[in-house]
Amino acid sequence: MAPNQKTQTEGTNLKTLGLNSPQEVFDILGLLKVDGEPIVKNEQDILDPRLKAKAVIDYFNEKFNVKMDELPYVASLIKHDLKHGKLTWRR
C-alpha cells in the first residue's frame, strides 16, 4: 500500500465539511456554553467521549429538534468561524 494512500469513509463527508473525525463534531459542540450554561453539564462527561456525545445529541435534540446527522453541519460552521476569528475560545 502506498504511504499516501487515503481511505474513503462512509456516511456524511466530514472532510468536505472541514472536519477530521466524527469525534471532532462532539468535541467542538461539547465546548459550547450557551447563555453561560455548558451544553455538557456534568464535567465528568467531558472526559468520556460517549457521554459527551450523548449529552450533545440530547441537548440539540431537545432544544432545536436537530437530529444527530445534522450535527456535523453545525460543528462545521462553528469550526469555520473559530478559524476565522468570528468566535473565540475562553477560559
Binding site: 456554553k33 460552521l77 473559530l82
Partner: protein
C-alpha cells in the same frame, strides 16, 4: 569503552499533572440566539440545492460577475450566462458542453473554497436551467 546499563540515566523535567489555566476549562461562549442561527444555517447547508435557493435567493444576476470573485475564477461564468444576461439564447452545443466539463471543476472548487459554495451552487442551478432549455 561502553556505558554500563543504568549508569547514566536521562533525567527530564519532573512529570507534573497539567492543570487547566484560569478558572475553568476552555469553552466557546454563545447566546441561544447565536446558536439558533448556526442551527438554521446548518439546515440550509444540508438542504437540497433547489430548496436552499428557494428560501434564500442570492442577489446575483444571471451572467454578472460579483466584484468579490477573484479574477482567476471569472472563467467559471460561462458564455451562456453572459448570453442569458444579454437576453440571447445560447446555442445548444455551447450550452450543453460546459455542463459536463464544469461539474468536476465546480466540485473541486466547492471543496477548496467553502465560502464560494453559494455562488457555485447558483452556477450549477443556472447550468441545469440552461441545459433544460436548450
Amino acid at each position: 569503552m561502553g556505558v554500563e546499563s543504568g549508569q547514566i540515566r536521562q533525567v527530564g523535567a519532573p512529570q507534573r499533572p497539567v492543570a487547566p489555566a484560569g478558572n475553568g476549562s476552555p469553552h466557546i461562549d454563545l447566546t441561544s440566539a447565536g446558536l439558533s442561527g448556526y442551527v438554521e444555517r446548518a439546515a440550509q447547508l444540508r438542504a437540497p440545492e433547489h430548496e436552499r435557493f428557494t428560501h434564500n435567493p442570492l442577489p446575483i444576476q444571471t451572467g454578472t460577475i460579483p466584484p468579490n470573485i477573484p479574477v482567476n475564477l471569472q472563467p467559471l461564468v460561462l458564455p451562456q450566462h453572459r448570453a442569458a444576461a444579454a437576453g440571447e439564447a445560447a446555442p445548444a452545443e455551447r450550452a450543453s458542453a460546459p455542463l459536463t466539463q464544469m461539474a468536476p471543476a465546480l466540485d473541486v472548487l466547492s471543496e477548496l473554497a467553502p465560502n464560494l459554495r453559494p455562488l457555485i451552487n447558483r452556477i450549477r442551478q443556472e447550468n441545469r436551467m440552461l441545459g433544460a432549455r436548450s
